[in-house]
Amino acid sequence: MRYAETGFNLEIDLSQGSVKRVATDPRLTGLHLGGQGTAAKILWDSVPPEVDPLSPENVIIFSTGLLHGTPVPGANRTSVSTFSPLTNLYVNSLMGGWLGPELKQAGYDKIVLRGAASGLVYLYIHNDKVEIRDASHLQGKGCQETATLLKQELKDPNIQVAAIGLAGENQVLMATIEHANSSASRHGVGAVMGSKRLKAIAVRGTKDVNVAHPAELWEMCNSKYKEIHENKNCGDPMAHDHNEGFHVDNFAWGNARTRRPGYWNKEREEKWTGLWKKVRTRDSGCFNCPKDCHYTISYPGRQTYFLKCFSKLTYAMAAFEEIDFNYDILGVTCAYGLDGFSTPQVLAFAVELYEAGILTDRELPDFPPDAPGRFFYLVEKIVRREGIGDLLANGVYRAARQIGNGAEAFDHNTTKKVEQVPLKLGVINYPFYLMYCTGEKMNITQIEGSFPQAPIADKERRKAFVENWDAAPERFRKWYLEWEPREHMPIEASVNVCDWNEAMHYVDDAIGTCAWLSSFRGQFGGSPPYHLFNLPKFISLAAGMELDSEGLLEVARRNRNLIRALNIRRGLRRSDEKPPEDHWKKRDPEMEQKHLDAYYQFKGWTNDGLPTKETLDRLGLGYVSEDFLERGILSESAGALCAEGSTGTVAN
């Protein structure tokens, strides 16, 4: 018997209309655990590097995490892994809610989709019954509306639905996949779904998920409910904190340009909270988690939608507007299925181009004079790919180059073609420099998280923090204790911090636990409910495998290097690895490169950022190093050098 997982994937070819239930190799679970780890292996095996992300040959995988469907609280984040039309690289976009656990209850660990249907379809999964059905009646419907209609049509309110809206149907590169109170928003996963003409996935499952050591596992889980609920240092703080000063005073407004210190005040807090009380009808959680990080918002005249995280502020800040505008426009963008993180930056970028005379009334006929009017106008153009909307729908980086005429200069906040967090800071922070440069997810919130962003100024308080910091391996406690304000940590520390931060995300993304309970939250308060030292036991008891902290890190390293390899094979190199140029005012190019050298060396990568043969072989990724040698990405001489313990140089 397989524990924690079902041992079966659904493989669906939408071009052929075929559905296969395929048994998976349990050894792969040992090597990658599940989630994006095993998804990356499938993508490596089945999608050659030259495949266009929006072509039928691309594969999009909905993965449950290894712990989905087990009693482990907070294991509910579903991975959507594919190649991104925005970056042309690998993307793993995550969503909370209930989809992953329901899929596992239906008897599958993953849905692996390839091909493209001839007309709009949806996928219906009810245990062993799996059907590709006509969805022409759902064309143009909003994401939530689609879910409601499918539940009615299938006469089952317990179905879990993931759907795209008009943005996904029209392959807008900021298109999301929306599910219940959550969404997989990043890097155009909704556009990939749209390119396959797949409007929605509807899942219902009524089967058992078995665990290996029931009584022991339950005992650990039962105490976690209470701990997670009471732990103020986990969950989404933005869901309940009405003091928005941290974001509105420090993050940049408009097209990631302007800081407005002192914007926040008591009067504004009262006004904003007053409106929140009017429009917010409930806070909801995700499957089997006692935190309630999602608002239900019913704004007059808009469809009900669900708000989470930073999208609470992003549109208002991009438009220099008050919070009312944010609630209003989200009612439209959530229905269309647009990423609340990148879309506002695209809109603000377009407004800047208009003000600079690069876009004119010819491209933007009847362009309204006011910011809200302009944003609504642009959203309609983008989701329909109408006129200039057809270019803006490709995101800031691509649109800037397609528009030309100086528009490139207004693209100042992207790296690897992705709109980054709108932050403009003073002095460089090296762990963050490394995370921005090298993170395969490109979004900082999906890379940072275990090690605090800055030292606590008061030495005694810092000491107390470190003493209670159970989640941290010893060396990080030492580095943090010695980190004085306005000083840089040693290079070795910065390298290790970057590595640890991202490793914990790779753990979450394999087992399906929410980053708000682990990988993202250690940096604030230092007491995430899940960490390197207790997760191995949860995984061992649920899945019946031997695993300790080092073993878990080894899996994270393997998954990390496999995903790196997917991107290397598609052309990613050191020259791509840099933060937004104006992210910090004070830079130090020489030190930055020293950090990058040290980081690559630490990871067992060449100076160009390629995993060496030795690194790959040691992680059981010999098939990757063979492929790299065959393609000439790695050379034999570099391989030999690596075997001697040097990172060497690499031909290519």
Binding site: D208, N210, P214, D283, C286, P290, D292, T296
Partner: protein
């Protein structure tokens, strides 16, 4: 009736709908507890508590499995509470043919909440234990019930005959049998 009373222990789960966040931890815990061996599998479809969920319309109602009914009810009521409409089924605890709640997914046999009967007794049912947001709160209280005299075997049999044929007919029959002696 002799007017005597006895105490009855009433176990109650108070449901605060305003506090439910829809996480369905109650379903996880229930299905785990009732698995064999305990907690060896999780399957909300086997849970004896289900959260009736319609997030868009802000309906989250945890209901526990009550009695089995072989047929669905004759009609439906719907309720409007604070301007929001709820169907009768949203609050109904019956395992009935009109829906797939509270039936074993494999056998179709009805499920019924046992308030987590266990030896030794649980302090509170599992669904309540894991509901940290306080949507489910357990309480016990004693209520007075009219004590009915316990019938002996023969009394019980006669009672059945009386219910079926009427006291007079039974008395006549007994008298006739006595005469025949």
């Amino acid at each position: 009736m002799n007017g005597r009373t006895k105490k009855k222990l009433v176990k109650e789960i108070k449901v605060n709908l305003d506090k439910c966040i829809g996480c369905r931890a109650c379903e996880v815990a229930c299905s785990g507890f009732h698995a064999t061996p305990k907690y060896s599998s999780i399957n909300p479809a086997r849970s004896r508590i289900r959260v009736v969920t319609d997030l868009v319309n802000d309906v989250l109602v945890p209901i526990r499995a009550g009695d089995y009914a072989s047929s669905e009810c004759t009609g439906r009521q719907s309720f409007t509470i604070d301007g929001k409409e709820y169907s009768e089924c949203t609050f109904c605890t019956v395992s009935c043919p009109a829906r797939d709640l509270f039936r074993e997914p494999d056998s179709g046999l009805p499920l019924k909440c046992d308030m987590c009967e266990d030896v030794p007794a649980l302090a509170e049912p599992m669904c309540v234990q894991v509901c940290r947001v306080g949507a489910l709160v357990y309480s016990e209280r004693e209520e007075e019930r009219e004590a009915k005299p316990k019938l002996g075997q023969m009394e019980f049999a006669l009672q059945t005959l009386v219910e079926k044929h009427g006291l007079e007919s039974v008395l006549d029959t007994v008298a006739r049998m006595a005469k025949k002696g």
